[in-house]
Amino acid sequence: MAPAVPRSGDAIFANVERVNAELFTLTYGAIVRQLLTDLEEVEEVNKQLDQMGYNIGIRLIDEFLAKSNVTRCVDFRETAEVIAKVGFKMFLGVTASVTNWDSEGTSCSLILEDNPLVDFVELPDTCQGLYYCNILSGVVRGALEMVSMKTEVTWVRDMLRGDDAFELQVKLLKQVPEEYPYKDDE
């Protein structure tokens, strides 16, 4: 049987159940607003958004692997491309681009120019220091951890803070290679 061909982000997105993005955007906004009210400190909200994202990411990876037919990425470069073109597309309906590779190929940036989380969102002055989209950094980190990559994910640019794009830096800290109990030739 021929190996399954990896599917494109567009193809997967066209085939999953989808909802009105406005509902999603407003729900996320209401959540951030409620968290700010209940937790009071912007830093705490950043932390909780990241934690929530992590919890989502560790589960979302299953759906990703099941629907995308992606088996093993050869290296971190390929992983980043897959996240940007397939991952973001099949969930958020938008693609990201990958740039700013370091010389070792262990750190890069994911750039999002179009982001459904922030449609019609403006941050009041009282939210200085808030990383509104911090749930995304958690999702990326959680998902990658489930495929044995330990990463550090940080915001470099944030459109809600006046920058021209959303830029997430993803740094590979440790990759635990899968260990098989038997050698291939036995």
Partner: protein, 168 residues
């Protein structure tokens, strides 16, 4: 072309916020957690209702508004049909029946997996999720000038009833 995201985005987000409020922020205080989840829904319902009615003339009476929420608003939002709208004019109570069995998340998800949760916890988890749509309905109706209280009845899963009590 209406912008869309995957349903799993919405489901994951909801599951996670319910879990965060119930297990982290207000662990052991389910009533507080419930109120926060409902408040989040209220905010969403309020904003959506404002958007959807910007170009519409005001509703002539409560029933018209409720029917709007029941039909256009609801199916736009959740892509499911409300099966049944029963009105009880004397008590100002409207009961909707929404068949959510086709939805893998939110309602039937928790109820279908009794092996991982005790039945009580499963019912509670399902109930907690429902505070969100209850809030949406309350927020939408309040914005249309109909203050009300909304609760969910899950005694007949996978069918789910929303009971709207109008405040006079």
């Amino acid at each position: 072309m209406v912008r869309e995201v995957s349903e799993s985005c919405m489901d994951s987000l909801l599951t996670e916020i319910v879990s965060s409020y119930c297990n982290r922020f207000y662990a052991n205080k389910p009533e507080l957690a419930a109120r926060r989840i409902e408040a989040i829904g209220y905010q969403v319902g309020h904003q959506l209702s404002e958007r959807y009615t910007i170009e519409r003339p005001r509703f002539t009476d409560h029933l018209e508004a409720i029917k709007f929420i029941c039909k256009d608003f609801w199916s736009e939002l959740f892509k499911k049909q409300i099966d049944n709208l029963k009105t009880n004019h004397r008590d100002n109570k409207f009961r909707w029946l929404s068949r959510m069995s086709g939805d893998p998340s939110e309602i039937s998800g928790a109820a279908q997996d009794p092996s991982t949760m005790s039945e009580n916890k499963a019912a509670q988890a399902t109930g907690m999720h429902l505070y969100f749509p209850c809030g949406i309905i309350r927020g939408a109706l309040s914005t249309l000038g109909i203050p009300c209280a909304v609760s969910a009845d899950i005694s007949n899963l996978p069918a789910c009833s929303f009971v709207v009590r109008i405040k006079v």
